[in-house]
Symmetry: none
Subunit: 118 residues, 2 copies
């Protein structure tokens, strides 16, 4: 589970996964679409593979990467244990709390600016 989260926490890997959701892709195609150079793509795909999120199939010189269902299923099951938490009807309360936190952050910025000045 940690590996799954760690793999998805990296923005470019997240983008790769999002792209692979539409279907299998070759390494070069991923690099072109996401504006990444090839070694980075290969290395990210290696991490994704070790996390079990993708699988490879050799096709001549190309390697086709595709999403694997297992980690996603496990994530879904994990999330399911939190259903009680996220199904609570706190929509409006969330908004209010966020507002207050935003104000708090403003205040902190003001403090920080003042402290730096002196």
């Amino acid at each position: 589970m940690h590996e799954t989260f760690a793999a998805l926490a990296e923005p470019n890997r997240y983008r790769i996964v999002e792209l692979l959701r539409t279907g299998p892709r070759a390494v070069n195609e991923i690099g072109e679409r996401l504006q990444l150079n090839q070694p980075q793509v290969s290395k990210h795909l290696k991490v994704l593979k070790e996390a079990g999120l993708v699988d490879v199939e050799a096709r001549a010189q190309q390697r086709l990467y595709e999403l694997r269902p297992k980690p996603l299923r496990e994530m879904h099951r994990w999330l399911d244990r939190y259903r009680r938490v996220w199904e609570e009807q706190f929509e409006q309360l969330d908004e209010v709390v966020e507002e207050l936190e935003a104000k708090e952050r403003e205040k902190e910025k003001a403090h920080a600016a003042r402290d730096k000045r002196k």
Copy 2:
């Protein structure tokens, strides 16, 4: 979304979230239960808070941390877009292979036609 994954990717933060699933806890209690010293707990909680995963409530000198539903809900919605992936296990890769083979056959035909023309 990246922040949520990054927060949960860290094993100790993951454990904190798992603990908070059972209800709000004070900082010291978390540290004792998970065998972490206090500064680490505070720092991890800070990350979790910035990711929106927890919220604090002051209780005298104590701070009670509790899970917040929003990021979990967003994760669930995100995962939902991948439902197809973990429900259909096969087929996708095979289809692409078929496609490539079809293209290959087209090329062969073109070659053959050209050869005949001359």
